[in-house]
């Protein structure tokens, strides 16, 4: 809990510090796993991948692999000394399969060779015979055959069936949402260095070093204490390096263990696409009911989730989609059934938003459809049904949100984005232009912050002050570009009243801070920030006590500011006080720990408080659509984002805009295509298209909504990583609106995600056909 430190005049909170590594990024000196200078004798690993999507391995022949000059070893499941069964929540994966193949691209064996190039060449020389089976690729088919990774779940609130029967308006429909590749620019990588007396050090590009440590220990059959996992930074992650980095950490470690030499495993981009899981694809059936006045009475959803070959986080992702299934609206009667299909593709995993955006999109498409049916502007429908206060701020899981700012926020954006005037202009444009149509959408988003699994809401930190006054800040979080370390330094600097150059970020290291949770769920700053704060406060108290011993005064009156400490009538330079502490035998190292209060819900009934607090936002997107080709262009975006009281507005703005553009790609150009035999045809940037700069509209207006967190978070800030991604759904819905306008606004467009030119042209054609034109 942030106790108010009244005696700090100094404030680094709210300042726009540059990213702690910015000067390293721009000069090329920032080191990623593959950049670490290799120790002498280091070897390189490459993976042999399955070329069928489902079946059994009949035979393997590695003669040609081993015959290639420079190959040191081929490792298979037999070579794993410890545990081979893995999983994130359920142990339904094998690090390397004994026989069963579950998707095309599954790693089957590891080649260790003298160079990266030799290892890759050799991996292709294996002769593997399979007994192939027809893969299950469609979620619907898998569900009909009861192939699921975890059982279906249903959430229920009120009495939806009678409510629907009594309603004036009932609309229903179906929405297909595709997955999304993370496309972190730095591919998965790990570098394992064996040490004396059964020790292993792993440099890993992972959001979850503690899990890498634990899993490496498991495959080796060692206690975790013998393994150290380190991560200085990742070149992007977005959820893709949360669970799935373990394959690479473990396989590098396996090679290092077997050969007793350092082994690096870094993936070629195509292999990364073929092996690792993506955002979950959803098929959603929706039914939404309202009374004559357009007030929602009931919502019913059925989610069919494609989980891929294993459970991974699919249960939790699907649950989050259910929590978020009514987005920002008050719906008195609700039910949602969620099926989690086991499909023969890469195991879908965490991805920024964690199912939330998919759940929300089902609701928002239903809202557009209902507005179309009622012949009203969808913003009017949204505003009428927005969560407000008291009983009208109750969510289907029986939690009443207490600090809702949505009504205010939406009013503000409606005015600053000039929504009504633009809507009129768009209508006029569409009436007079036959080829290029426009669409617009203004929508709210609400995002609950916290890990669904309550026990994960904890963090640790270790702050060391050295006798010269420099401060090394360690914590359990990982830096993936979000600026977590920068905010941690700001917090330490703020508590101890020292200038930025005195605080130094460190590599995340499981030997410094143990038993950490994944840096995920937007919670990095909330959790680690409080832990760093607690450690820094502890040190501050020790130093304050010393200052009063030296100069008189009371510890609570000591002021830490501007690299000085003031006590009584005297002041001393911060470094001098630290040096004095050493001579006075005072420890200058402290750990900090934090657990999130208040959260907890009943897993069985879906009732309770799964989230600590909520983040609010809204966006308005305007698009142009070419009815001849289906091409679209985003013309303008207005975003209004609540981040609480920002610790660093520059970093928060970067997160918000970056999330929006990332989501915009998912909504428009990023299409994953699997062949009928289960081969992923879009497995590199040549075929899988994330947004380029040219896709970002020149007219992009971002603003913070002035707010502060009512909950006791670090300096009253709020999480920012995931919430703004939801706002990018406005791009899809603006396209939806444009398609509807192109076809007379009488039928809801059958538009799927991503809204590629082809998907749009199909939607236009279906609408034309249904109109009988």
């Amino acid at each position: 809990m942030t106790q108010e430190i009244k005696t700090t005049r100094h404030s680094e909170i709210g300042k726009e510090w540059a990213h702690e590594s910015a000067h390293l990024h721009v000069t090329g000196h920032a080191e990623y796993v593959d950049d670490i200078p290799e120790l002498e004798g280091s070897l390189h690993a490459a993976l042999g991948l399955s070329t069928v999507a489902r079946g059994h391995i009949k035979s393997t022949d590695f003669t040609d692999v081993l015959a290639l000059d420079g190959v040191e070893a081929v490792l298979t499941a037999k070579d794993i000394p410890g545990e081979n069964r893995f999983g994130i929540i359920i142990d339904d994966e094998r690090l390397l399969p004994d026989s069963r193949v579950a998707y095309w691209g599954q790693p089957l064996f590891v080649v260790v060779a003298q160079t990266y190039d030799i290892a890759r060449r050799a991996a292709r020389l294996a002769r593997i015979e399979y007994e192939a089976e027809t893969p299950l690729l469609a979620a619907e088919e898998a569900i009909s055959r009861s192939e699921t990774v975890v059982p279906a779940r249903t959430a229920r609130d009120g009495e939806p069936e009678p409510a629907i029967r009594a309603s004036h308006h009932v609309i229903s429909g179906h929405l297909k949402i595709g997955g999304q590749e993370h496309f972190y620019l730095e591919g998965q990588a790990a570098y394992a260095i064996p040490g004396e007396d059964r020790r292993m050090t792993i440099f890993t590009s992972s959001q979850h070093p503690s899990e890498m440590q634990a899993f490496v220990a498991r495959i080796l059959g060692w206690p975790s204490g013998r393994v150290t996992a380190l991560c200085r930074r990742m070149g992007g992650a977005f959820g893709g390096k949360e669970s799935q980095s373990y394959y690479f950490a473990c396989l590098a470690a396996l090679g290092a263990f077997k050969l007793n030499r350092p082994v690096k495993l870094r993936l070629d981009r195509d292999d990364d696409f073929m092996i690792t899981g993506k955002r979950h694809a959803f098929d959603i059936d929706y039914m939404l009911a309202a009374n004559k006045a357009g007030q929602l009475t009931a919502a019913v959803f059925e989610h069919r989730v494609s989980a891929g070959h294993s459970a991974d986080y699919s249960g939790a992702v699907s649950d989050r989609a259910m929590f978020d299934a009514t987005n920002a609206y008050f719906v008195p009667n609700f039910t949602c059934t969620s099926h989690r299909a086991r499909t023969n593709i890469q195991s879908a995993t965490a991805f920024r938003g964690f199912g939330g955006p998919q759940g929300m999109l089902g609701m928002e498409v239903a809202m557009e459809t209902l507005a179309l049916r009622r012949g009203e502007d969808s913003l009017d429908l949204r505003k009428r049904n927005l969560l407000t206060h008291g009983t009208n701020a109750r969510l289907h899981y029986d939690h009443v949100i207490e600090d809702n700012v949505l009504p205010d926020l939406i009013e503000t954006l409606e005015s600053t984005s000039d929504y009504r005037r633009r809507r009129t202009e768009i209508n006029a444009h569409n009436a007079t232009n036959s080829i290029i149509k426009k669409g617009i959408c203004l929508l709210p988003a609400v995002f609950g912050v916290g890990f669904g699994a309550t026990f994960l809401n904890q963090a640790g930190a270790l702050v060391n002050i050295y006798a010269d006054g420099s401060i090394l800040v360690n914590h359990g979080g990982t830096e993936m570009g979000q600026g977590l370390n920068t905010k941690m330094l700001q917090i330490a600097s703020n508590v101890l009243g020292v200038s930025p150059e005195k605080v130094i970020a460190s590599t995340t290291d499981t030997s410094k801070v143990p038993n950490t949770v994944s840096t995920a769920a937007s919670s990095g700053t909330d959790l680690n920030g409080m832990a760093v704060y607690n450690a820094a406060v502890c040190l501050r108290e020790r130093l304050a006590t010393l200052a009063t011993q030296l100069f008189g005064g009371k510890p609570e009156d000591v002021i830490f500011a501007d690299d000085k400490v003031h006590s009584g009538s005297e002041s001393i330079d911060f470094p001098a006080l630290c040096e004095a502490a050493f001579f006075h035998q005072i420890s200058l190292s402290a750990t900090g720990y934090y657990r999130v209060p208040k959260v907890g819900y009943d897993f069985e009934t879906f009732k309770g408080r799964p989230f600590h607090y909520y983040v609010y936002g809204a966006a308005c997107s305007e698009v142009a659509l070419d009815t001849l080709t289906g091409e679209t262009r985003v013309l303008r975006v207005d975003m209004l984002q609540d981040v609480g009281k920002s610790i660093n507005p520059a970093l928060d703005r970067g997160q918000a805009i970056g999330a929006f553009v990332q989501g915009m790609g998912w909504m428009t150009t990023e299409e994953l295509v699997w062949r009928d035999d289960g081969f992923l045809a879009t497995h590199a940037p040549q075929t899988y298209k994330i947004p380029t700069g040219g896709d970002v509209p020149e007219d992009f207006r971002f603003a913070f909504f002035d707010n502060e967190n009512r909950e006791e978070t670090i300096y009253k800030s709020k999480a920012v990583g995931e919430p703004p991604l939801k706002l990018s759904l406005s791009v899809f819905l603006a396209i939806w609106d444009a398609v509807a306008s192109s076809t007379g606004r009488n039928l809801p467009p059958q538009l799927s995600v991503p809204a590629t030119p082809e998907a749009i042209l199909n939607a236009l054609e279906i609408a034309e056909r249904n109109r009988g034109v």
Binding site: A18, T27, R269, I436, P685, Q686, G693, L761
Partner: protein
């Protein structure tokens, strides 16, 4: 490839590998080289991941490490990125630095967002949403200018050239041959017709990095000056086959401004900085974007062999899927574009999922010459509809001799549907390709008839080329 050389041999690890196929830009470096007349120096951002090492002979390679001289602190490009919060995870950042650096060297003052878009069209960033990077591209001009002296670089390059000429006489049968004349290329080809000709390597490079292919002999065209010259005469444009597209396209766009947007959509600037016009043609891909243009403009090809040269129409050059009318030991040397006819109506359209740096689902170029409102000659050329770039000759015949209007266009569209049977793949389905092919003809008609808004880009910024 150069990237491996930088990272593993030179231990310069600021330059990153993001995809090893020239699509993400994390590996961007700037190459300084002499113009074909050797009078001045050009700076081009290129993808080092698919740049064969021989291509840097007698060139300066500038990497992110070259900007940070340690003494004067950060270069304006770097400083601007830091101050505008243009990096998050930082992995793509060195690539952005180098693309922006090339832009900075090529423009003394801020050239505007369209030019920045173009400069960054080959760089992917997954974190920032690009806005802070665009802000940095403007901000970098606000600091005291800190550019290279092209005179000094030119002198250094000339000096390098002289030294290598003395030190390393070209062995004609090197595994990686670097001939200087067309005659030398033909001679090597006549001895070893399996020798692989390497021009820009923007496609070939992927065979090395992805298919792990190697060749017993390669012939690198980087030093064949004859192939890098463009001449404009009364007979039209004569373009050396290994002129890079970033040089060819702006020049062609002067005569054919209607092609600007189409050219902009051809790959990314960094790919256009290496990809050659001849390479695009000789690659024979059915989705190469140059060919519909050149087919519609009735371009001819000049082909050399040891015993002489011949000229043939591009429309006769493709025999089937990646099958060319090139005989053994022949080399495509020049592309000949006839002068612009009077009363030409020309349109070029490319359709892909993403606007920048994507491969066409369908590309169409239409060239009509008109007399008194009647179509005298029609050329309608498509990419992505057949196993090779091809003209829609049936549609052309329907259009000729009539006014360009709704009726003939409908007939021509029907003819296109009969003439082509495209494939379905991850880029688009067959039916989409056919529908769009017809609709593009309709779009051309709408533009011919003066409909002011026929493309989404008309509602937004103009592109620069």
């Amino acid at each position: 490839m150069l990237l491996g050389h930088l990272r593993d041999e030179r231990r310069l690890r600021g330059t990153k590998e993001g995809c090893a196929e020239g699509d993400c830009g994390a590996c961007m470096v700037v190459i300084a080289e002499l113009t074909s007349d050797e009078t001045s120096v050009v700076y081009r951002a290129v993808n080092s991941c698919i740049l064969p090492l021989p291509a840097i002979t007698n060139r300066l390679v500038l990497t992110v490490e070259d900007l940070d001289d340690g003494e004067n602190g950060l270069h304006p490009v770097q400083k601007a990125l830091v101050e505008c919060h243009g990096s998050q995870c930082g992995f793509c950042t060195p690539g952005f630095v180098m693309s922006l650096y090339a832009l900075y060297l090529n423009h003394d003052v801020y050239p505007g967002r369209p030019s920045v878009n173009e400069a960054l069209s080959g760089n992917l960033c997954r974190c920032t949403g690009y806005l802070p990077i665009f802000e940095a591209a403007e901000r970098m001009y606000a600091y005291p200018r800190c550019a290279r002296d092209p005179e000094v670089d030119a002198a250094r390059l000339r000096d390098m050239q002289q030294k290598t000429a003395v030190q390393k006489p070209q062995a004609a049968y090197d595994a990686a041959a670097q001939p200087k004349t067309i005659a030398e290329v033909c001679k090597i080809l006549s001895k070893d017709n399996d020798a692989r000709i390497v021009a820009g390597a923007t496609d070939l490079g992927l065979e090395a990095t992805k298919d792990l292919k190697s060749w017993s002999r390669t012939i690198h065209l980087d030093d064949v000056r004859e192939l890098q010259q463009i001449t404009q005469t009364a007979q039209g444009l004569s373009i050396g086959a290994s002129c890079v597209l970033s040089e060819v396209f702006p020049l062609m766009a002067k005569t054919y401004p209607e092609l600007s947007d189409y050219f902009y959509r051809f790959a990314s600037l960094s790919i256009r900085n290496r990809a050659t016009l001849g390479g695009n043609i000789a690659n024979g891909s059915p989705i190469g974007d140059s060919m519909p243009v050149l087919l519609a403009l009735d371009a001819d090809l000049e082909i050399a062999r040891t015993a002489g040269r011949r000229v043939m129409a591009l429309s006769d050059f493709y025999l089937g899927y990646r099958k060319l009318a090139l005989k053994p030991a022949e080399l495509l040397t020049r592309i000949l574009v006839p002068p612009r006819p009077e009363d030409l109506f020309l349109r070029a359209y490319k359709i892909s999922k993403r606007r920048e740096d994507d491969i066409s689902a369908v590309a169409m170029v239409i060239a009509l010459t008109l007399k008194d409102g009647i179509v005298e000659s029609a050329r309608v050329a498509f990419g992505g509809l057949a196993e090779m770039p091809r003209r829609a000759k049936g549609a052309e015949t329907i259009l000729e001799g009539h006014a360009f209007g709704r009726e003939t266009v409908n007939e021509a569209v029907a003819s296109i549907e009969r003439e082509f049977s495209p494939i379905s793949d991850h880029r688009a389905s067959a039916s989409y390709r056919l529908r769009v092919a017809g609709n593009l003809l309709r779009r051309a008609l709408a533009e011919f008839e003066g409909n002011p808004i026929t493309q989404t880009t008309q509602l937004n910024c103009e592109v620069a080329l």
